[in-house]
Symmetry: C2
């Protein structure tokens, strides 16, 4: 039923090996032969059998991209950039024609592990993990173990916007007691590469911006607890406060939520209840910040006249859509493209870390002085 290499070979009057060589273009073939083969391919509408080819070549052209929330443009932009870089229409010569598999983990460490297993099973060429990872020691250890196995299987691992989970100390396979008999790796494998996002610097710049405007009572709507991104952004915020000689944000002005709009809405209401006199709110990301704006509107407050709102640049147009919203512009496209190039093996730094692009504050309509 299906057309195979042999069919093409027969029609072109050559051997299967020759057809393979023509198709892969990695071996010299006489011009006449080549065109004969190509014509046969056309006529028979032949399409390579990927699984067979992957089996024989011991590698596939699949690249996994894990995202926390596919409905969030933040990840959409990164995933799109990765895909553009490695995909059918790539700018990296002789590397393209790979297929990006975008996997939506929903922020769940379990699903993350499940997807990684699935990708390992597909013998993916590379795996790109984007967005924040969990800080939970158990999950980190499990993730580290899985990444180790992926690397051992020749899968290139790229961490985009999150740090590499540390391996367990002590003997090999410390994280998995049952793995004592697992086979050893047959040589040095490429280590995971980090393509960081400057979460800490961005949060610091964001807070410095608010402080420069004269704000002192700043509510902080942080992301989910136990996430690397949350931790880094919080650290940046604190660094700015400290550098300005100010006390750290008090507990009642620091609320943990999610990266979603609802969380921003609810969090803003709680912050206002906790301190009706606050003049600024820093949100976990733009999506949450938009929720903050809505909450302020519903409370009869204006943005930024009454309260300045800031967030991370998850939605490129957020600052424009919600007047008064100040965001940190993270270089999402650039980061995604860098991750894509690393996944292709085209850009692997010595120390395993691609230098991050600096985050920039996009101030807009936020020059109003704080209230009384």
């Amino acid at each position: 039923m299906t057309v195979t290499l042999a069919d093409v070979a027969a029609r072109a009057g050559v051997s299967a090996a020759t057809v393979s060589r023509v198709l892969n273009g990695n071996y010299p073939v006489a011009t006449a032969t080549r065109s004969r083969v190509l014509r046969a391919v056309e006529e028979l509408e032949y399409v390579v059998n990927g699984p067979a080819s992957s089996l024989a070549a011991a590698s596939s052209d699949l690249v996994g991209v894990l995202v926390n929330d596919i409905a969030d443009p933040f990840f959409g932009i990164i995933a799109g950039a990765v895909q553009d870089t490695i995909g059918p229409v790539t700018s990296v010569p002789a590397q393209g024609r790979k297929l990006a598999v975008i996997c939506n983990t929903g922020g769940s460490p379990e699903r993350e592990l499940t997807y990684l297993t699935l990708l390992q099973r597909q013998r993916a060429a590379a795996v790109v993990l984007t967005g924040s990872g969990t800080d939970d020691p158990g999950h980190r250890a499990a993730l580290a173990a899985r990444l180790r196995r992926l690397a051992a299987g020749g899968v290139r691992v790229v961490l985009c916007g999150r740090p590499l989970p540390a391996e367990e100390h002590g003997g090999a396979d410390g994280a998995d007691p049952a793995a004592g008999t697992a086979p050893e790796v047959d040589g040095p494998r490429p280590r995971p590469v980090e393509v960081p996002l400057d979460n800490e610097g961005g949060a610091r710049a964001l807070t410095e911006h608010l402080l420069a405007l004269g704000h002192r009572r700043i509510g902080h709507l942080a992301g989910p607890d136990h996430r690397s991104t949350t931790r880094h952004r919080l650290a940046g915020h604190r660094a700015a406060m400290t550098a300005a000689g100010l006390p750290p944000t008090p507990d009642h002005l620091l609320i943990h939520g999610t990266f979603h709009r609802d969380s921003g809405y609810a969090g803003a209401l709680r912050l206002l209840d906790a301190d009706p006199g606050l003049t600024a709110i820093a949100a976990a990301n733009d999506t949450a910040a938009l929720g903050v704006c809505a909450a302020l509107r519903d409370r009869g407050l204006r943005v930024p006249q009454d309260v300045s709102v800031t967030g991370f640049d998850d939605l490129p147009f957020a600052a424009d859509v919600a007047p008064g919203l100040t965001t940190v512009r993270l270089p999402l496209r650039e980061t995604g493209q860098a991750a894509g190039r690393v996944a292709l093996g085209a850009e692997v730094p010595e120390d395993g870390v691609v230098p991050p692009e600096p985050a920039r504050v996009v101030a807009r309509d936020s020059t109003a002085p704080p209230r009384g």
Copy 2:
């Protein structure tokens, strides 16, 4: 180096066949044997070789999902819903564990075809095409041919939010003269299934809403020309105008653009220049509508006091973020889930068309009467 079935079999003291049966769970195996095998799998950290298994079984567990713009939450929501339905954590029993491959076409018919070839090459179990398709006859024919080949290869095809491109009339393979010698299909294959979005009904409801508010000078910012979605939404708009006994929207109030924010911004300015007295603008989608809101703000106009703005529900929170924006709520999640179930083969209607969920108008702050 890598652990294979044989390794597991040896360790468990059984044959490879038995291990395969245990792993696939589609064959009776003694409980004792099963647990012995599973333990060996654990101990060796065995992960199935997907390509090998796909080759032997002549089918893979990959499902392709094509989207026009991965950075647009509209597609993110649909893609996420498809993935949730078919993916590792699925609610459809005994069907899950499939891997969704989300492909970003950027709205380009060429990239669409390229991705379809790539997916055919991977022997994908199913392919889901989402969002508007091109109306260009050449591309439609090429797409129809490719879909036919996919179906012939046993790939289930799902069209989500767009109509099935018609086959060429006349003899078989009419669209591809060079294919005269292509092999015949070896039996009846499942035809593509349509999971529609009610674009026409939504546009009609949107326009009716504006008309009911008393608007008569309505600017229409349509989507890209030659796209099915654009055509359907335009048809709904016109139907509402006609049903109300009104003349069709004049040419100078009908502008084609893209589905992006910038297009909405620029288009709104053009519309205002063409008719400074218009009282409402219907945009191609929410993203463009947000751009319209920004343009109105920059022109010193208020929404909806001076101009009512409407759009399709690409961003769930758009109406909430931009006060005065009225949207049509398309059942994106439901549609995506239906598409996922169809892709799994769990829901295939007789006539090949899943009934669409109705679109609903989400009115908000748009009760202001028109100016003048």
